[in-house]
């Protein structure tokens, strides 16, 4: 499906979604409440069949956090980027998509470890790369550590 066709199909099901077609992939920005229904539709629906989640990450824009999900369909060969804005920087939380794509389990643990985003319904949410009793979330922009020697 081309980007325009994808945009039309998604906006029919989720009218509140915002689109950005300027980059390489079509980007859909959606609210946290509608996030899980959208991902469910994208992975299960015959027309979309996004069966391959290849990148899950988070960007810290200082005033808010932005979760970014990159999807690919191995059957239809189209790409999509889904973004969710998390305005609460103290206790950000979003639904987990481990039930849809098994690869999300490790990726979400990594985002929890480095950014502090809590994933609801995650089967095993704990730190992945850092020590269990590490203080703070290093990839945030306001992270301060006396061990870090600045250039």
């Amino acid at each position: 499906m081309s980007n325009e066709a994808l945009q039309e199909s998604i906006v029919q099901l989720f009218p509140s979604a915002e689109f950005d077609g300027t980059g390489e992939f079509l980007t859909v920005t959606i609210s946290a409440a509608e996030f899980y229904p959208l991902m469910n539709t994208l992975s299960k629906d015959e027309a979309f069949q996004f069966n391959y989640l290849f990148c899950l990450t988070c960007i810290d824009w200082k005033t808010h956090l932005m979760m970014v999900y990159h999807l690919l369909s191995r059957t239809h060969r189209h790409n999509l980027v889904v973004k969710v804005k998390l305005s609460d920087c103290e206790n950000p939380s979003i639904d987990s998509i481990t039930s849809l794509w098994k690869t999300a389990e490790f990726h979400e643990r990594e985002v929890f470890d480095l950014f502090g985003v809590h994933f609801n319904n995650h089967p095993d949410l704990r730190r992945l790369l850092l020590d269990e009793n590490w203080d703070g979330f290093p990839l945030r922009k306001n992270y301060v550590d006396e061990n870090m020697i600045a250039l």
Binding site: Y52, F54, I59, K102, T103, L129, L130, L139, L151
Partner: protein, 373 residues
């Protein structure tokens, strides 16, 4: 309580042991906690982070020319391909393209890297399963390839030869002749390698039927590279999203459907032959011209997000750069192939024995610093 824990019994009578972080066959510092019932594996839980060098945070304070060197150290056996991915992403942001000569040199070095990585994998697979001879044979050819790279790039392992816009220097005058010699040598030795390991009955018993991964599981776990292709999932980035002139070359994407360790082994051996054929197509046809597109001294990407994928020896590497217009990236995320491949380990290993776990780890070909970044 130390991170490693101690070996203990659970209430169900299962015995929990630690494999690693220091272990001869974990291919790096991977700590696996294994729940055993006798010798049968019930659960495998990887613990990561023993080589987490905070490359993503460090790259946020480096310039767009500097951050490439850290990626050579992530998946150090495909160092050229990692550097190529970063250079391509920056070029995408600057909307420039490398000249044809630079693209041909990049493909040649990438395929040589893939060949040397698979040779080392073959040697270490033999070593893990108890055969020590393949280790020495594989390094013999690998040393020849590294000598060629050292003459052109200046280093054996962490070359840093790719720059945004092209390659750093032109190839050495001996490059073409030495590469042709080594292709002749490797082609003649591949038959010998098949005789040593592939037809060996002990090897076949240890790998056939072991560590099965279905195609649906491979897609759901996000596996790419030889692991997914051995389960029948077509995912070669050089065919799906061609970059740098791969669409003009003739090579096959090999797919097998068995999904066990033996299939992954045979697939990598066949990929070595494909890499040789790609090098043969290009080695006499390197176009003349510049090796670098002119770029400014200080690179600044425009605001936006850029994603580039390449095919490393282990799967699809993705570099995701978020830029806010400054001279350093705002956020870099490396979608590393080994990270997703590792999540399929438990599915593959459940129900098999510890000896099978070693065979599965050997054919999965993980590089742990790529997982931890």
């Amino acid at each position: 309580m130390s991170l490693l824990g101690e070996n203990y019994y659970t209430e169900e009578g299962e015995f929990v042991i630690n494999i690693g972080p220091q272990h001869p066959s974990t291919h790096g510092v991977l700590h696996l906690k294994v729940w055993l019932d006798g010798e049968t594996i019930k659960r495998v839980q990887p613990h990561l982070g023993y080589i987490h060098r905070s490359i993503e945070k460090m790259s946020e304070s480096l310039s767009y020319r500097n951050f490439i060197y850290a990626t050579s150290r992530m998946d150090y056996l495909s160092a050229h391909i990692n550097n190529e991915a970063c250079a391509l992403t920056v070029e995408k942001g600057l909307q420039i393209e490398a000249p044809p000569r630079a693209q041909a040199i990049r493909i040649l070095l990438a395929e040589l890297t893939r060949l040397s990585s698979h040779l080392l994998w073959w040697g270490c697979t033999g070593l893990d399963l108890g055969a020590v001879t393949p280790f020495f044979y594989a390094f013999r050819e690998r040393e020849m390839i590294l000598d060629i790279m050292e003459e052109t790039c200046g280093a054996r392992l962490t070359q840093n030869f790719m720059v945004p816009g092209g390659v750093m220097y032109d190839i050495h005058p001996n490059f073409q002749k030495r590469t042709k010699d080594i292709l002749v040598q490797v082609k003649s030795k591949l038959g010998e390698y098949y005789n040593i390991l592939t037809g060996n009955p002990i090897f076949e018993q240890r790998t056939k039927g072991v560590g099965y991964l279905s195609a649906e599981d491979a897609i759901s776990f996000g596996c790419t590279g030889p692991i997914a292709r051995a389960s029948g999932v077509s995912c070669d980035v050089r065919k799906w999203f061609p970059y740098e002139g791969y669409d003009k070359l003739e090579f096959k994407e090999i797919l097998l459907t068995d999904g066990d360790c033996y299939a992954r082994y045979m697939l990598r051996m066949a990929e070595m032959s494909e890499s040789i054929s790609i090098i043969e197509q290009l080695i006499d046809n390197i176009p003349e011209g510049d090796i670098q597109t002119k770029t400014k001294q200080v690179l600044k990407l425009p605001k936006g997000e850029f994603y580039q994928r390449v095919e490393t020896a282990r799967g699809e590497l993705g570099v995701f750069i978020v830029s806010d217009g400054a001279a350093s990236p705002y956020r870099i995320k490396y979608r590393s192939p080994n990270f997703s491949n590792l999540s399929a380990l438990e599915t593959m290993a459940k129900g098999s024995k510890i000896g099978d776990l070693i065979a599965i780890m050997a054919t999965m070909d993980l590089i742990v610093p790529d997982i931890d970044r």
